[in-house]
């Protein structure tokens, strides 16, 4: 059979990129079926493909990757990411098999693994707490985010930054603090309260006027836009220096103010600075408030006449392993049955959630009523996306109108609707969103929503539209017997992460409604 090498290579490339059209795929299949020479070229290109992926992973591991400031990955999750990535393996074949992937040398490590390590390597501090913070740079950082060198700009609220050196710094907004390294920061403006344990001695905070070098202590540092900068020493001692003045040591209870180029002695006033204990108290009060606000909104959602299923995962576990459908008119079948999963902490310390980790973990439900429009909503904290398909909800049926809702390996939201075209198996029409659940968002609570109004599929993340696409109009949409966070298919497709709210509505919620829902529900 005649074929053009360039044509074949273009087809191969499109297949590798998953951008190939059905017609081109058929053409590729025809060429490969009829020509051994074509198959040889195909094999070569397959090896080039895996080789390029290896090369990219190695280059990244070697540190050539560019620094993205403040990649918001959660610290506790980062530390066990390497375990979670292949947790399914452990479940499937015990610890034995998991070890295989551990013992593989670094050059063949899957890229996502090296990406996680890389993120960790660039971090210099952790955002341990963030209470009522409004960021002026528009980057939404939440507690647990790993901080890389860069500037934190708070309009209001307060945060606790734990530097890798061990220094703990409470920053009160409005403030602008530049993180230089694990042992150094620069206070452009605002107030900080620093606790420096012995192992972090030498921790330095610069400012436009003067610099403070710590010798193991607690001190406050204030840089106002219209007032003179002040240093207050609460315990231990610090050294204060400026470009023009000789270094000066301040002891416990002492303070200085930099006025007209000279240091004036003042008394240290502890109450002028937000203490860590107070921040912790505010944090827990804030969490209580947020939880109360969410509960209120959540009741409204349960009461919506279009709500078919609403799980909040707040009930206690005994005696049955059941997830209660909070919707007022709930039929018994719509309560979920928990298989495998265990309960865990949700968006707030007192909020429940379900943990999906191993191959068997799932919630089974039956939502028998056919629908003409739908909203699928889930609050999830994704550990990793080790598979090409990571299911949020999968109908057992393959009838026309059956739904699959999932995250792809690249972190795209995807809705698939079954369509019977007379072939032996159903075709699944699908619309993807842009990638959203990418590694820097692993470990954070995200609100994922997909709506379908019988014409257009819309994907939302954290209340923002992230993708739309047209779909054929099935006579009705079917969920029926279905699985949350897993599927009945023998192919491994379960979600790796936690879920603390899940809802199905028989109408397409609007962008405004979803934005409001996110505002009321984000942690």
């Amino acid at each position: 059979m005649n074929f053009d090498r360039d044509e074949l290579r273009t087809l191969c490339s499109a297949l590798h990129d998953s951008t190939i059209s059905a017609a081109d795929h058929a053409r590729l299949e025809e060429i490969l079926t009829h020509s051994a020479e074509a198959r040889e070229l195909w094999f070569l290109h397959c090896d080039i493909e895996t080789g390029m992926a290896d090369w990219a992973a190695m280059r990244q591991a070697a540190g050539a990757q560019k620094v993205v400031p403040f990649a918001g990955a959660s610290a506790p999750h980062l530390s066990n990411r390497s375990h979670t990535a292949y947790r399914w393996l452990a479940a499937a074949a015990a610890v034995l098999i998991a070890a295989i992937w551990w013992t593989r040398d670094s050059t063949t490590h899957p890229p996502q693994e090296t990406a996680a390590l890389e993120t960790k390597a660039n971090g210099i501090a952790v955002l341990a707490r963030a209470v009522g913070v409004e960021w002026t740079d528009g980057v939404a950082r939440t507690s647990g985010a790993v901080l890389e060198p860069g500037t934190l700009r708070l309009k209001s609220g307060a945060v606790l930054v734990e530097f890798y050196s061990g220094a703990r710094v409470v920053v009160e907004g409005p403030a602008e603090l530049r993180l230089v390294s694990a042992g150094e920061a620069f206070l452009q403006s605002g107030k900080i309260n620093a606790h420096v344990p012995p192992q972090a001695r030498g921790f330095t905070v610069g400012s436009p006027g003067m610099k403070v070098v710590d010798f193991g202590t607690d001190f406050g540092f204030a840089v106002g836009s219209d007032s003179a900068p002040e240093v207050h020493v609460f315990t231990g001692k610090v050294e204060v220096a400026s470009a023009t003045l000789a270094p000066r040591v301040l002891n416990e209870g002492e303070g200085v103010r930099l006025e007209r180029g000279a240091l004036q002695a003042i008394a240290a006033v502890r109450s002028g600075f937000l203490a860590e204990e107070e921040l912790v108290r505010r944090d827990s009060a804030f969490a209580q408030q947020r939880l109360a606000a969410w509960r209120e909104t959540s009741r409204t959602l349960s009461a919506d006449p279009a709500t078919v299923v609403h799980y909040t995962f707040e009930e206690s576990d005994a005696p049955e392993r059941r997830v209660t459908n909070q919707c007022a008119s709930a039929s018994p079948a719509t309560h979920g049955s928990i298989v495998g999963s265990v309960r865990t902490e949700g968006r707030w310390p007192d909020k429940g959630a379900l943990q999906f980790r191993s191959e068997g973990d799932r919630v089974r439900l039956i939502a028998p009523e056919p629908m003409h429009a739908v909203t699928l909503l889930a609050w999830v904290r994704v550990d990793s996306l080790p598979r090409g398909q990571n299911i949020l909800l999968a109908a057992d049926s393959e009838q026309t109108g059956a739904l699959h809702w999932l995250l792809t390996g690249e972190g795209r939201l995807r809705l698939e609707i079954a369509r019977d075209l007379g072939r032996p198996r159903a075709d699944w029409e699908a619309v993807n969103s842009a990638p959203f659940v990418t590694p820097e968002r692993f470990g954070q609570w995200l609100m994922l929503v997909t709506t379908f109004d019988s014409r257009t599929i819309r994907h939302y993340a954290n209340g923002q539209l992230i993708g739309t696409g047209a779909s054929f109009a099935p006579p009705s949409l079917l969920i029926g017997a279905a699985v949350v966070a897993n599927s009945s298919s023998p192919v491994l497709r379960q979600l790796s992460g936690d879920m603390d709210e899940f809802a199905i509505l028989s109408r397409a919620m609007s962008a405004d409604e979803l934005r409001a829902l996110y505002q009321a529900g984000h942690p």
Binding site: R9, S13, A14, L15, H16, D17, S18, I20, A22, E29, L32, T33, R39, E40, F43, L44, H45, C46, D47, I48, E49, T50, G51, M52, A53, D54, W55, A56, A57, R59, Q60, Q65, Y86, L89, A92, A93, L96, I97, A99, I100, T103, R104, D105, T108, P110, P111, Q112, R387, G388, W428, A430, A434, P435, T438, P439, E440, S489, P490, V491, L492
Partner: protein, 181 residues
């Protein structure tokens, strides 16, 4: 299902891990040629490794592990296509059989191709390297790079196609030169 005796388990496991590691590249390359893309191939390889361990007792020591493993991988790939990737474009079973047979012989070239590719990658310019990273690193996105560069996504895919071609030509040339030496 035959499982190794408990007292032989550790030893057997070590050997299994060693064999699987040394064939990883070949098996992945084998699966890419059946499934068409790396992500699905990784998926199926992970499933395959579980089955391989379960069946490891039936593997005849001293014979070709990669060849034995690829027969298991073949069934996993076909199963994956039938069950997991219904919505995707897949090769017919007839073509899969042909590809599998020929690829099993071809796979011995994989390591040499990868080595040659390492040299060829060095000739790529920085823009090309960035593009390869955007396309091949987990969590990266070619759409994002297109946005940053102010180019259409398809332009970048076209560029990637050209890079793959020139790399394939470079690898072929290098291997021919080595063979001639």
């Amino acid at each position: 299902m035959a499982q190794p005796e408990p007292n032989n388990r550790d030893e057997s496991h070590e050997e299994f891990v060693r064999l699987l590691n040394s064939s990883h590249r070949q098996l992945l390359g084998y699966l890419v040629s059946l499934l068409g893309n790396r992500h699905d191939a990784e998926d199926v390889l992970q499933r395959t490794s579980i089955t391989l361990w379960r069946k490891f007792a039936t593997f005849e020591r001293g014979t070709n592990f990669a060849a034995w493993a690829s027969t298991v991988a073949f069934y996993e790939a076909r199963n994956f296509q039938r069950m997991g990737a219904r919505s995707r474009l897949v090769f017919s079973d007839a073509l899969l059989e042909v590809l599998s047979t020929e690829r099993t012989n071809d796979i011995s070239h994989t390591d040499a191709r990868h080595e040659a590719l390492g040299h060829c990658m060095e000739k790529l310019d920085e823009a090309g390297r960035r593009l390869v990273e955007a396309a091949y690193l987990e969590g990266s996105d070619i759409g994002l790079l297109a946005e940053q560069l102010g180019r259409a996504k398809q332009t970048l895919y076209n560029k990637l196609n050209i890079i793959r071609r020139s790399l394939a030509d470079c690898v072929t040339r290098r291997l021919a030169e080595e063979g001639a030496r």
